[in-house]
Symmetry: C2
Subunit: 662 residues, 2 copies
């Protein structure tokens, strides 16, 4: 058997908590003990759970030792988990504790060098923030050196600079500086880690993202990789989340650096999800020509053995969607096909890790027979196991027979638990109570709406009442918020209703993508066609109200605008920072297929900005979800004051300004 077949056996044993069999260890060792072999420990840590993370790290250190590797490398902040956010500021104990665990890990090392990310406290009165984002070199029972991160991202989902100080120095500093390094006491040390005559230049994540030739625009002045150019091999310990279109950029950038400096590059990435942020793993190694020689799996823990010198490595296939070429700069086409496998794995991993890390096991959700709840049910079944999902069809008097039967059929196809429970008694009682109450209130307040959304919302909230009831009554169970990204942008979701839940799986997936996604799920899951075709074909609508024009239940696109048009607005704003006038001038894909008047376009654009401005509050109380797209409205990724709802997104001309200020 070859190295990678043997490795896979070990990985499987480990994942079942078993100790690997001695004969396979021996067989691997016969290959790796020749020297130059390195282990990339692509692990899934839990934020702040030091014992859990340390045990996982220890397992791989001991294994690496057994098979005689030169080195085993862990991701950025592996011991603490990334991101840990403000936790280290309010609870500095866990930073002190992580040092104790780090020293414990050092003690178990022997001949194999381990590189382990941790949070390093700084001296109390040191200038700057209180911590470094560091990686320790552990060898022969001791910590022998420290590497610290210089470039601290603070955009989108990143907030490193809140409590982390940028390192004033690149490369390895001696262990004596642990907890004591400052600008003033940088040691004139060998900045490379030397093992058997090979010099390794170690950097942490963002430190390799500032090449002045590769990027048109640089975020920072300093380029740590340039300062490490005398290395024989580069190492980057990373925690880099998956986002649409990011992989190819990362790949090209790492390849560029390897070929530019003519050094192999070893890149070790975190896998798994921490709250809203999903890391894809896909750790990899390039040779000195910038060619890929090894890549770990995406969205799975893996221990990948490589030898950059003799170019031993295996390239596991990348999740489809990750591989899409960035040079393919095409305009918005509403063709999501190429990104659907990545979307699937990102969300399934996000659900699985959120549940397991919080200690939840079960999910309950409303099945309306519509697309959103349907896709959520499929994802939950795959992430948690079908026996752990309960779908409840909760019809009102407006719910069609088809909605009920579609929901039931879906549940049967998926094999999830299912029941039907009418909300009619609750809606009737609530409506009666509220009507009495409204009569009293309107004696004091003369601002009662002639047409309100109250009846719609009563239905959505009654359903949430059922789901939260089940969550309260059954252990380790949380309800699911099924809102999608398009609807959230429009605030088309009920507070304490469908947008309420313990987790929101598709909050960053636009509606048009969900249609494509449903078809993809039907074709690509083991059980084909779990989603009834009728669900994919029907027009989205919440079945909460009757359209006075048609006498039928109101269609979401009539209440909002065509989803294709809406999703293109969102895409253009998020990806191209387009303004109102840019959008007005652009030719939308929808327009190519449907002739619409300028007035119609203006009406939709106005509606978009008006509704988005008042949806900011809803974004702020959105349950945890998984970031999927290149940009999102997730509050850990994007923050806008709710009180900025009066922004004029159209802009004004100089004359209007002059008149206003007269």
């Amino acid at each position: 058997m070859n190295l990678y077949t043997l490795s896979e056996i070990i990985d499987k044993k480990f994942s079942h908590g078993e100790i690997p069999p001695q004969n396979i260890i021996e067989e691997i060792r016969s290959i790796t003990s020749k020297g130059g072999y390195i282990g990339l420990a692509q692990i899934d840590p839990t934020a702040g759970n030091l014992e859990f993370n340390a045990k996982k790290i220890a397992k791989y250190i001991k294994y690496s030792e057994k098979i005689g590797l030169d080195m085993v490398i862990f991701p950025e902040l592996a011991l603490m988990g990334y991101p840990i956010e403000d936790t280290i500021d309010r609870h500095p104990l866990i930073v002190r504790e992580n040092i104790k665990w780090l020293k414990g890990l050092a003690k178990i090392t022997k001949n194999t060098t381990a590189i382990v990310g941790f949070v390093e406290p700084r001296e109390k009165d040191a200038e700057g923030k209180r911590f470094y984002n560091s990686a320790a070199i552990l060898q022969n029972g001791k910590i022998t050196g420290i590497v610290r991160k210089s470039l601290l991202p603070t955009y989108s989902e990143f907030n490193d600079y809140r409590y982390i100080e940028p390192s004033p120095v690149v490369g390895v500093q001696p262990v004596e500086t642990l907890g004591k390094l400052s600008r003033e006491n940088i040691q004139p040390s060998n900045k490379y880690l030397e093992i058997n005559g090979t010099k390794y230049g170690i950097s942490i994540c963002e430190d390799c993202w500032n090449n002045k030739e590769f990027f048109e625009k640089n975020l920072y002045d300093k380029d740590p990789i340039e300062e490490l150019k005398e290395a024989d091999i580069f190492i980057n310990c990373s925690a880099s989340p998956t986002r649409a279109k990011k992989e190819q950029l990362k790949h090209n950038m790492l390849s560029f650096i390897s070929s530019k400096y003519k050094k192999p590059m070893i890149y070790v990435n975190q896998v798994g999800a921490i709250d809203n942020i999903s890391f894809d793993g896909s750790s990899r190694v390039f040779n000195s020509k910038g060619e890929l020689i090894a890549r770990a799996k995406s969205f799975e823990e893996q221990f990948l053995i490589v030898n950059p010198k003799n170019e031993t490595g295996k390239i596991y296939p990348l999740t489809k969607g990750l591989e899409k070429s960035l040079t393919e700069q095409k305009v918005f086409t509403l063709e999501y096909e190429s990104d659907l496998e990545r979307t699937y794995k990102t969300i399934v991993q996000g659900i699985r890790d959120y549940f397991s890390k919080c200690g939840f096991k079960k999910a309950v959700l409303g099945l309306s027979g519509g697309l959103d709840s349907t896709v959520c049910a499929v994802l939950l079944a795959d992430a948690l196991g079908k026996e752990n999902v309960f779908g409840i069809s909760m019809p009102s008097k407006l719910t069609s027979k088809e909605s009920k039967s579609d929901a039931k059929e879906l549940a049967e196809n998926l094999g999830i638990n299912f029941t039907e429970a009418s909300i009619k008694p609750m809606v009737d009682t609530t409506t009666d109570c509220l009507n009495d109450l409204f009569k009293v209130v309107e004696t004091k307040w003369d601002c009662r709406y002639k047409n309100s959304f109250t009846p719609d919302n009563i239905q959505a909230r009654s359903r949430a009442m059922f789901l939260w009831g089940i969550s309260n009554e059954f252990a380790s169970c949380i309800p699911i918020a099924t809102s999608d990204k398009s609807e959230l942008y429009m605030g088309y979701a009920t507070i304490n209703g469908d947008m309420s839940g313990g987790f929101a799986p598709i909050a960053d997936v636009p509606k048009t993508k969900l249609f494509a996604f449903a078809r993809w799920l039907n074709s690509n899951r083991e059980e084909k066609n779990a989603i009834p075709e009728a669900i994919i074909l029907k027009k989205p609508g919440a079945e909460l109200a009757i359209d006075p024009k048609t006498g039928k239940t109101l269609n979401a696109e009539d209440a909002l605008m065509p989803y294709e048009f809406l999703d293109e607005i969102i895409w253009r704003i998020e990806n191209k920072n387009e303004s109102y006038s840019d959008l007005l001038e652009a030719e939308f894909v929808y327009e190519k297929k449907n002739k619409i008047s300028k007035e119609q376009k203006i009406e939709w654009l106005d509606k978009f900005y008006r509704r988005m401005s008042t949806a900011l509050y809803k974004w702020s109380i959105l349950p945890p979800s998984v970031i999927v797209e290149s940009r999102s409205i997730n509050k850990s990724d994007y923050r806008q004051p709710i009180t900025s709802s009066k922004i004029n997104y159209k802009g004004v001309n100089e004359e209007e300004i002059a008149n206003s200020l007269l």
Copy 2:
């Protein structure tokens, strides 16, 4: 009449939208036109509402011109409002627009110089972030210079560095650098603003917070004030929020700088609230000995005229609580008295600005007869007007007669609208429906709790259903979440129930402070004793369940722990970063009065950490609220991964670590 009496007349006119009378303008002008007079325009901007902010700025520019001031100074980012957060990244249009408005403002200037904060875009390919946080010097119809912020806070409520680039240069750069400054093209200009022979050294907010002698620990290397030391007078344009214990630090620091450099210091602060952040204003001027010579009002828009050279200025009284000496380093005493006026004004301003900036007018809340909803009702009546508040008593079968009559009495005392609406029909129907549903679910899932909180939560959610119903049915009305800080720390609040609402006024006020606060409100509001004594005296309890031990409704302190003890844990963690073992060793105030066993203390501490760890999700979906204390759990102030719920806050010893890693 003196300058300040005359000024107050103008302020009053302005606040009613009136044009000031010519005779008073003339009278002021007779004083101010002698030269050296400067206006501190302490304004309340709305985030991103450029027209609103620009008109306000224009009003004061024109007024300053009329009365012949040398200069009028506005707070940090006055034109945009601070904070604007990620909005400028996703919608760069508003930055381009703010430049147009800035140029419009420049055009209306004549002899009086105006200093106006704005967001400055940078060149597309410039290294670093896309914007500067800048202030423009406007004179004689033109922008004549730009000052940029160098030190960018990124801790607690601050996130400047997310999209703002630190300025590479201190002081004034010529207008030619507008939109074009980079490290490479810094102009060798006069860095001071010169007016009538006086050199002003201008800095923005954090730039004056890094004096190496004053602070024991510095966050940054650079000290911009040191680089401006050749100025005759310092100016600092600021947007500095109120937090417990912050004022005295700020005051001492500004005074220290003035006296150290022997220059007057003019400090202009923003007032008003933007979402969760409440700015106290209290703009001020120190003479060159570091003595206070002028101070604007706290928590009010004001235009304060000063003359630092001849020491003309008026010191308006500081809101009590702001003035508390920082040197008074006393341990936690549960004596909140000194901070209650500040607390009151912070929250009232927070409510008023949130409502007015979002376009809301009315609030509806449940009145339980308990302390939380009572204090909320008082604050809402004061912030919005009693006619705009509707209190609803929503009794269940567990609600005592006293609770109902206390709620009614409170409403009558306050003069707010009031009615009673029983939730019994809703609770009965929901309970019946849920019991049927639970029977089905338990045929599939064997994890039904023997004792659950479902009945408690049904009550809380039925009440929220009423309040949100009213909000949906009546224009510009939002429901209020009444949870307090102590309960939120413990997760002792119902999702979609009492913790749900459009705004949460007391989410950063601990329970023990609320008791003191209620008494303070009774003594210090115009209408004395609006809060019935019975409400203050009763033990907190949500009246959601019966205590099996006593047969009476369950008391919150029995479910949790004594509030005095709980609040001291919170205070020690937030203010002193104490760990589990620190807390165990410390002698709590509660312990001085009540003998408790070590076992009891451990039980409470364990309960605290256990409950806090699982409350993280609730913090993440908390409605907007006002930050009051020096540290909070507000998500714009503190972020911790929800999946970090397994952190071991007790820590472990080396032996345990070694055994774990064996």
